[in-house]
Symmetry: C2
Subunit: 448 residues, 2 copies
């Protein structure tokens, strides 16, 4: 079956006409990801209704695939016993993801419904900082003993494997719980039955630290091309594993967050599609108003040169072009640097080299831009005006580019988010410099 | 061993002092990803030297982990027989990735070194459009027969598995090669030995199409949480599989490309760190110069209002603030929409609703911004100026936001890249509208 597309109107028709048994039978044989997609597209009321019609095992799987806001909505409409069942059916990493989205008082109530072991585990995972690898962990992995044979290991996997999240990799720990090696399942399968596990080990393994930033984990996964990585604490004790499907989600979410930040939109938490008008307003107005403050300085800069403007009004014609170009060159630079920091492409060791390279790039761009506007300005206002505009263009492109390069690096050095050096912020700062540069040069060149 | 960090200076010392045997012994026991990282950090000359010191199997693995530009450099420095060996050691998807980065004449020469089967396969993969799922395919998957028992299937996996890229999933095809189902390896392992494969099947599977955009594949992987997905043609014939490690790379690369596009930087092809000054200049100057053309219209707009400016020079003070705010609101909107289209969050069915929501959001933001600047402008130039500035602010924020929302949607509808509606493009367009709106309103309100 190729991605069967459930027919939303058909289902809703069945629901409308009360043929719930038909709906139940239809849903029972659908794959969980398709049902999840269907539920996401429904109205709240219908979502709760359809979820109730799912058989137990399917309900658990669908619930774990839903995004936290939808999970939360379903929980609100369930009886306590239902909530208990659904929560205990979640894997530890999914449960953590749900709980971190919920208000503290709701989390507290839900924790009380878990059995002792699950509650303790959930509290442990939630104790790791937000955005850390610890929060992505699950304990559903399998360890094998070096003294076993391949056949014994396979037998062990058959016994315990049903509950493990991934079986592509097994792990070896010493008596103290310290991770000592990893072993691919395929190696166990491909080895002759009597081979000792110890003989399959190579002493090499890659791992993550529980307190590590989850963005770094993306790069570790990319480097090793693995489906799961073990997580250890500072003493090397194996705490859990992180699987690549969660990392793919993290990569997409972190990129989306950085996209939004670079456009001065505070992280939405929900999808753009589902964001309410009020939420979007709040997440966007903050920086817009903040940048008004920066622009007051721009206005003050212009006010200083009112006489110059009065004398040669034609100067104003090139003002948007100049400050716009400085802002554009700056956005290019800051976006390149912010993204390269986020993907681990550049580190603090590269900064001086990148700074000097940017001087070269921006000088070349400034020159090209200066030549372009010189021709335009000559046509409009003669040689002197053209000279003033061209000189200013060179200066604003260089200043904008260097601002865009340096600011994210400085923010990163100060352990602040480099993405705060967003295009609009750089552009606003470049505006101030641009205006001062332009009118100063114009005043000098035109002898005003 | 926790991510052993190879000591670069130590290795270089050994190389300098000619103790190549020590280097060879040291490298032979290191994991391939670490050696790859080391080689990437070296000078070209040392990279070739160290690669030559690697034992055969390690050389193959390291080569496949290197980025195409580094692979190309190594190939240039190899004898024909070495090249032949390295190329035949690459998996089909890695070979395609290398070939698509190389100039056509180099590719042609390299194709001649492959054996018939590999050459044919490589040509087939390269015949899929760039950016399509087909280019990511590998044929290293395993199929099982429904008539087998679990034990027979495991035995089959033991025989053919060494060469397969992933064994987490096996596939079932009919007599014509059409994919009919998938089956997790764990199900085979966990099943009693005598279970028939047919009894483990559920008739549900997810698949990709070979001509599908690779960006869509990211979303399919996220939906199904699988480590590998089968790829079929229009008739459902199984052509190969795509693995999640490649998809994670695609997700990071596509996001980086969109980041750059949204800042009007043309795709770099190489990493920002390794980009040359000349390359960065070329990739950045095109749009900067292009936007100068747009800004000529802005200048023309201002020229139309020279008399107004001459009469009230104070109007210029608010010009950067107004066009800046329109641009910022527009960047926010376009970035939100572009990213939501890229992640599949919104589709064409959502557009009218999103458009009307944006009218609401932008009106609210415009109102808040208008109130803010009204106070500032009153202080600087009295009530009438304040009224003109506030009305203009409302208008430019709404116009900028709607431009930023509509343009990416229209581009997407026209099958063009929505990311072309980048922040600087929207800002430049918003500038033109902003200037016309501002000076028109000012002329009317101040009765100039």
């Amino acid at each position: 079956m190729i991605l069967r597309h459930l027919l939303l109107p058909d289902i809703l028709d069945l629901v409308e006409s009360g043929r719930l048994n038909d709906v139940r039978e239809f849903l029972a044989v659908q794959p969980a990801p398709e049902i999840t997609e269907l539920l996401t597209a429904l109205e709240d009321k219908d979502r709760v209704l359809l979820f109730r019609l799912l058989p137990r095992h399917l309900a658990d799987e669908v619930f774990s695939l839903l995004e936290p806001p939808f999970q939360n909505l379903l929980l609100k409409n369930m009886a306590q016993e239902e909530v208990r069942q659904v929560l205990s059916g979640l894997s530890p990493d999914d449960r953590t993801a749900l709980f971190e989205e919920l208000p503290a008082r709701v989390t507290k109530g839900l924790l009380g419904l878990l059995d002792d072991r699950d509650r303790k585990q959930t509290l442990t995972l939630l104790s790791y900082p937000e955005g850390s690898v610890g929060r992505l962990m699950t304990d559903r992995y399998v360890t094998v003993e070096p003294t076993w044979t391949a056949a014994q290991a396979l037998e062990h996997l058959r016994r315990v494997g049903t509950d493990s999240e991934t079986m592509t990799m097994t792990y070896i720990v010493d008596g103290k719980g310290r991770l000592t090696d990893d072993l691919r399942l395929r190696k166990i399968i491909l080895a002759p039955a009597e081979t000792r596990i110890a003989d399959l080990l190579d002493g090499h393994y890659a791992s993550l630290r529980s307190y590590q930033d989850r963005e770094e984990a993306i790069q570790v996964f990319r480097k090793y091309d693995l489906y799961a990585l073990p997580v250890v604490d500072a003493d090397g004790i194996l705490l859990g594993i992180v699987t690549v499907d969660d990392i793919l989600d993290v990569a997409e979410e972190e990129a989306t967050e950085d996209f939004h930040k670079l456009a001065t939109v505070s992280p939405l938490q929900v999808s753009f599609k589902d964001a309410s008008l009020g939420l979007l307003f709040r997440k966007r107005i903050v920086w817009l108003l903040g940048l008004v403050v920066v622009n007051i300085f721009t206005g003050t800069g212009i006010a200083m040169f009112e006489d110059t403007i009065q004398a040669v009004v034609a100067l104003v014609i090139f003002l948007p072009l100049l400050i716009g170009s400085g802002g554009n060159a700056g956005s290019q630079a800051s976006t390149l640097v912010v993204r390269a920091i986020a993907t681990g492409d550049i580190g603090s060791g590269d900064w001086w080299r990148l700074f000097f390279r940017e001087i070269g790039v921006s000088a070349a761009m400034g020159l090209a831009m200066a030549i372009a506007v010189f021709c335009i300005a000559w046509f409009r206002g003669g040689a002197l005006l053209a000279l003033a505009v061209a000189l200013s263009m060179f200066a604003v492109v260089v200043v904008g580019s260097l601002l865009g390069t340096v600011l994210p690096m400085v923010l990163n050095k100060l352990k602040l988010d480099p993405a705060t050096a967003s295009a609009p912020v750089i552009a606003s700062m470049a505006d101030i410099f641009g205006i001062l540069i332009y009118f100063s040069i114009a005043t000098a060149v035109l002898r005003l």
